[in-house]
Amino acid sequence: MYKAVIIGGSAGSFQIIIRILSSLPANFPLPLLLCLHRLKHVRSGFVEALSIKSSIPIIEPDDKEQIKPGRAYLAPANYHMFIELGNRIALSTEESVNHSRPSIDLSFITAAQVYREKLVGVILSGANKDGAYGLKKVSDLGGVTIVQDPNECQVKTMTESALKMTKVHHVFSPTEIVRFLQKINK
């Protein structure tokens, strides 16, 4: 049984995230951790945009917020989002990684260290290589790795970088990603 799903995305991932969120039931059995590249100085609006069609409540967590199933946690603008032991969010303002804060790598690495083989990591469309090393850590620590099919991505760099670094379990279309998540822990 899995304990969490973590999704990383950048340019071109917004529509797929919306689709995933709108396809999952309110009683989705796991927490969804979302690390999406976003403008540093725009603090509000993103949660609202993602919430429109989502049955799952979307939260931009405060520091040390407890992680609960059936909720989506969106990395806040201009903070890194770590997963801390004790199943809590920990935020950081340390330097950008891969020119990104939040950095997908850091969220994935720390989630992998906490959830290990009980984690599902998903990399979506994006324009830089952030997330590739993080997904490798998910794989190294026994988690399930999924990459959106680069041929279906608006921007391929992120998924291709991830595929170069890791022999992933699944290369999926958006429809297949949704189907996989709908069946998770059933």
Binding site: P61, D63, A90, T93, T110
Partner: protein, 278 residues
Amino acid sequence: MLPYEIGIVETRNVIKTILDTYGYDFGDYALTSFKRRLENIILTNGLKDAEGLIARLENNKVFFDSFLKDVNPETTEMFRDPPLWRDLRDDILPEIVRSSVKPKIWIGAIDSGEELYSLCITLQEIDMLDKVNILSSYLSEETVKKIKNCKIDPRQHEANDANYQRCNGIKRYADYFANGMGNGASTINAGLIENVTFVKQDAVFSNPPGSIRLALFRNQTIYFNQILQDQVLNRMQEVILPGGYLVLGIKESLENTIANNKFTVKNSAEKIYRKKAG
């Protein structure tokens, strides 16, 4: 990416060495970010692993000072969260200057100077820089030297400038640099910080300065676990005067801490709290 990953047991060993050797207690720092800091320090100092770090830390005060500089992440941005700086400039700072003589403003957060420079610029733009006492905390002597040097990494100009413009300041960001913003590090006008008092702190803020009208303590408690968050915020609470202000980072909160009932919320988005009277 980092080639070395430190384990929890090794992290505890480093913490114990520092406590035994220097009396600084990092035992209640948030584990994930503290581990990352240690990994960075091990990597940038060409050490092999935690044992190498422990060996270097023992009996080497100079190295320990540099460790203290690197163990807290730098803020990396001036005027982070422009709405806060507008609120300070238009509301909070004029109020505390009106209501007391030379009010004490304390920058509690340990960083590389960005918060201090932002505060001094803001005060200067409303002609209040000489009407307040500014105290700035530090852990490491090296950090104080760096802050007094007033050097800004040119890679940070873009973010700083964009933030400054969103504050609607009365000048241009570039006006604050003595030698312009060409290649190489630029120097902020040193006069801005000449009257600042630097106050040494330990890792858990055991001895904060007293009689504070405004404490800026943004994005510092995120590096603590909840036990230490509670302790430190309560210590801050004790030194802030009734009617004085505490500012936390926008993702930090007094909620669920023992200090909470001593404050009212002045601005929930910018996490400005006001100490109750009496």
